[in-house]
């Protein structure tokens, strides 16, 4: 079953999967613009790019979740088209996701063979055969648990093993690993590397998506770089340095214009000392001044949003002190945070921001109802007045404030959510990925508005994974990695290269350090 492929010089091997001129557009956004990607048998290809480069879209096209709008996918030089995830699976393409998609209530064997379990003569699932086959697969990959174990009893690393066993059970030729190490411990990552070697030795083509340069240089044979949905370059890992890869990935500054900000820092508004959490972050200490925009940059899973939720009172820190205007404040709930002048505009506005079903004006006034009511009764006229004022400030485009928020575009929904928080007249506003998934016009409006807020004396914390935005908008940037503050950057230190390096843990151009 093992087909050992050619050694060091692999340029003579032809790709299993070859994507060429692939284009994918969504209303208003071109996610992929004529990109190419080749995957070779027995080799690991790292797909590298910033957030929004089009990596996830590529995975979704390869696994048949999205259909292309142009370009060709070839398998063994024969053009194919995947109308559904099932087609992709039949072609031997399988994906192991960031959050593994498995069933907690089923056994390991059932998870491995769900959908293609061996059958008895009567068409029933042949449990014995299934467990035997599963046991053999688990043995092959060195899994330390039995096929009868219930999945819910396994940790994340072992769940990954199950996902990999599942990939092997369908005789996959192409295995896609989308940030497989994001939630793993150091030891588990080592085990994963061993497994990747096993898969390579079996001749599988592996697409490896990661933000961590140390692991890319550790296990990948090839790289492909995307930037803003376009192909930038590819080649052999052996032929490139970390620095060169960072430069490829970040490129020159994107042609995006950010508002000019004449910033004179005011007095200290917020001081956070030693905020810690058992698993997500530790020892977060920083200050925020009046009229300042403080950027928080880091990779997905660096603990930025988790820390912000703690600062906002949703989760409790184990340690740490928060001072607002010099006074120690204990924030136990979001209501406490709002009362102390801290508001949080969450990342996923669909899930955490707008109340679909309530009209626009009621969304805007939701946290301010105390001010628009008297003796327990709401005054609709007051509510409308408040909503109109902030809708106008944000240049909200809506036929009527009485309209259901669900009928607004993404950008306008975002404006409603921001208006909602501004109406509480906060001192500190935390914006978590404020422009994620909105069109360029709305992005510019949000940026302009952030600058205005800061100019009016509001202090802004902006959590963002988009490097141009972080650099273009922030006065200072705090880079987080693995739940800790990696560095604080401002002025000339604030370059795309330093941000990527600090976030990925590349100290100098010598060697990647282990966290």
């Amino acid at each position: 079953m093992t087909t050992h492929t050619a050694p060091a010089n692999r340029s003579d091997v032809s790709p299993v999967v070859s994507m060429d001129m692939i284009t994918k557009t969504f209303p208003g956004v071109t996610a992929l613009d004529r990109v190419k990607l080749d995957l070779y048998p027995g080799q690991v290809t790292a797909l590298v790019g910033e957030n929004g480069a089009g990596k996830s879209t590529t995975v979704k096209i390869l696994t048949g979740i999205y259909q292309t709008d142009g370009g060709t996918i070839r398998i063994d030089d024969a053009p194919v088209s995947f109308a559904s995830p099932n087609d992709a699976a039949k072609a031997g393409i399988t994906a192991i996701h960031q959050e593994t998609v498995l069933f907690d209530e089923l056994s390991v064997a059932e998870n491995i063979y769900i959908g293609h379990a061996p059958r008895t003569r009567f068409g029933l699932i042949d449990t014995a055969a299934m467990h035997a086959a599963a046991a053999k697969l688990l043995d092959d990959i060195g899994a330390p648990f039995s096929s009868h174990t219930q999945l819910r009893d396994l940790g994340i690393a072992n769940k990954h093993l199950v996902a990999i066993a599942r990939a092997l059970s369908v005789d996959a030729r192409v295995v896609i690993m989308d940030e497989p190490t994001a939630a793993l411990s150091h030891k588990e990552i080592e085990e994963l590397y061993t497994l990747v070697e096993t898969l390579k030795s079996q001749g599988k083509a592996i697409l490896f998506i990661s933000h961590k340069f140390d692991e890319i240089f550790r296990i990948a044979d090839r790289f492909t770089v995307f930037r803003d949905g376009a192909f930038v370059g590819d080649g052999l890992i052996a032929d490139i340095t970390e620095d060169a890869l960072v430069t490829l990935m970040v490129g020159r500054s994107v042609d995006q214009i950010f508002p000019d900000r004449a910033h004179t820092p005011g007095e200290e508004v917020l001081k956070v000392v030693g905020y810690s959490h058992p698993t997500e972050f530790a020892d977060i200490t920083f200050t925020l001044n009046r009229g300042e925009i403080l950027g928080f940059y880091g990779l997905v899973g660096a603990g930025r949003s988790e820390f912000m939720q703690s600062l906002f009172g949703i989760t409790k820190p184990t340690k740490g002190v928060c001072r607002i205007n010099g006074e120690i404040k204990i924030i136990r709930s979001p209501a406490d945070a709002v009362n102390n002048g801290i508001v949080y505009v969450p990342e996923d506005r669909g899930k955490q921001g707008a109340v679909i079903g309530l009209p626009i004006f009621q969304n805007i006034t939701l946290p301010s109802l105390g001010r628009t009511s008297s003796r327990g009764f709401l005054k609709l006229a007051e509510e409308f007045k408040l909503a109109r004022e902030y809708a106008a400030r944000l240049d909200l485009r809506a036929a009527s404030l009485d309209q259901d928020i669900g009928n607004l575009s993404g950008g306008n929904q975002q404006k409603v959510v921001i208006a909602k928080w501004l109406a509480t007249q906060p001192q500190v506003i935390i914006l978590d990925e404020p422009t994620k998934g909105i069109d360029i016009g709305s992005k510019a409006a949000v940026h302009k508005f952030m600058a205005e807020l800061a100019a009016q004396g509001l202090s802004v914390i902006m959590v963002s994974s988009e490097i141009p935005e972080v650099i273009g908008m922030s006065d200072r940037v705090i880079v987080m990695r693995d739940g800790l503050i990696a560095s604080e950057l401002s002025g000339d230190e604030l370059t795309p290269e330093t941000l990527v390096r600090h976030a990925a843990g590349i100290t100098t151009s010598t060697e990647g350090t282990a966290p």
Partner: protein, 326 residues
């Protein structure tokens, strides 16, 4: 919201009118004002309970214990009346509302603090409440001759041409109209059901709001408990058996989304009236009561299908924008 819900309510109101016209064409007496008033009075308990249930369903919960709560409170106040026949009616009312609210609070605490799914909690308390009725009454009935005339007479007393029972339903409807549109609690209920995550970020305590909804539903069940027992002048273990499903049905027909966050006082009231008209009209036009069940059942399915359809067309827009962000 204020734009599309009246559409649903108008359709439901038209369906009710059509039904009444159809019945009137075969039996003109049905539309006599006195008879319509009777139908309304007969539907009053359903209207009151449907409003309580609406609040619970809007917060993404369900209260299956309302009928058992009603029966237990009814039995309790009946026994109190037997023991202290001189106790004035306002006291009886206060006791009924308090008892009911306490039972609702039990549901609410279990949902809020222990995070047990509401359907499980209320299925459990439903059985427990019925069991308690048996324990306190020894399985015996409290009959009309044991109750004081004031006790049984209150819901039937006429005031401005309508019985007090009808007036209580009308007052409840008005109070709920104000509560849902003009108080922070009402707004929180919509926010919690419409988007619990967003509600948390807004500083609304989702669990406490759900607790409040259960207390409201329980209080109304308690109130109805007294009215029911007094009106029918009898209290026993099984009164209003299965009535909780009729209450949920009224809400669903009235366009209250089982998924929470969408619904209106008008919808719940019309849903209850629709069921009331069906129930009262069919015997009049000589249709077997079995048809009544079939008609109620069909109405539920049609209402749910209608809601799902309108929900879907609305959802599409949201999904598209969500897809881009993926």
């Amino acid at each position: 919201m204020m734009r599309h819900i009246p559409v649903r309510e108008t359709i439901l109101a038209s369906a009710i009118l059509l039904l009444i016209v159809l019945i009137a064409s075969r039996f003109a007496g049905f539309v006599a004002p006195a008879n319509l008033a009777n139908v309304f009075n007969d539907t009053a308990p359903l209207i009151i309970l449907a409003l309580g249930q609406m609040v619970v369903i809007l917060t993404r919960c369900i209260d299956l214990s309302v009928a058992a709560n009603l029966a237990l409170t009814g039995m309790a106040v009946a026994m109190i009346n037997v023991a202290f026949p001189g106790l004035p009616i306002p006291f009886i009312l206060a006791i009924a509302v308090t008892l009911g609210a306490m039972m609702g609070a039990i549901n609410g605490v279990l949902v809020w603090k222990l995070n047990i799914p509401p359907i499980v909690v209320t299925l459990g308390t439903m059985t427990i409440f019925r069991g308690i009725i048996f324990l306190i009454s020894d399985g015996k009935w409290v009959n009309s001759h044991e109750m004081s005339p004031a006790f049984t007479g209150f819901p039937r007393a006429a005031f401005l041409g309508l019985p007090v029972l009808s007036w209580i339903a009308i007052i409840t409807v008005v109070a709920f109209g104000v509560m849902m549109s003009r108080t922070q609690f009402g707004r929180s209920i919509f926010a919690v059901g419409g988007n619990p995550h967003a509600a948390v970020y807004t500083g609304i305590n989702v669990g406490r709001t759900q607790f409040g909804a259960f207390v409201v539903s329980g209080a109304l069940a308690g109130l109805t408990g007294y009215l029911w027992v007094a009106r029918y002048a009898v209290a026993y273990v099984d009164i209003a058996g299965g009535f909780e499903l009729e209450v949920v049905a009224a809400c669903v027909i009235g366009g209250i989304s089982i998924a929470g966050g969408i619904g209106s006082v008008g919808g719940a009231v019309l849903g209850a009236i629709f069921l009331g008209v069906v129930k009262n009209a069919l015997p009049v036009v000589n249709i077997s009561p079995f048809w009544q069940l079939a008609i109620s059942g069909s109405a539920i399915l049609i209402a749910v299908a209608f809601n799902a359809r309108s929900g879907r067309t609305k959802g599409r827009i949201i999904l598209k924008s969500a897809e881009v962000t993926q």
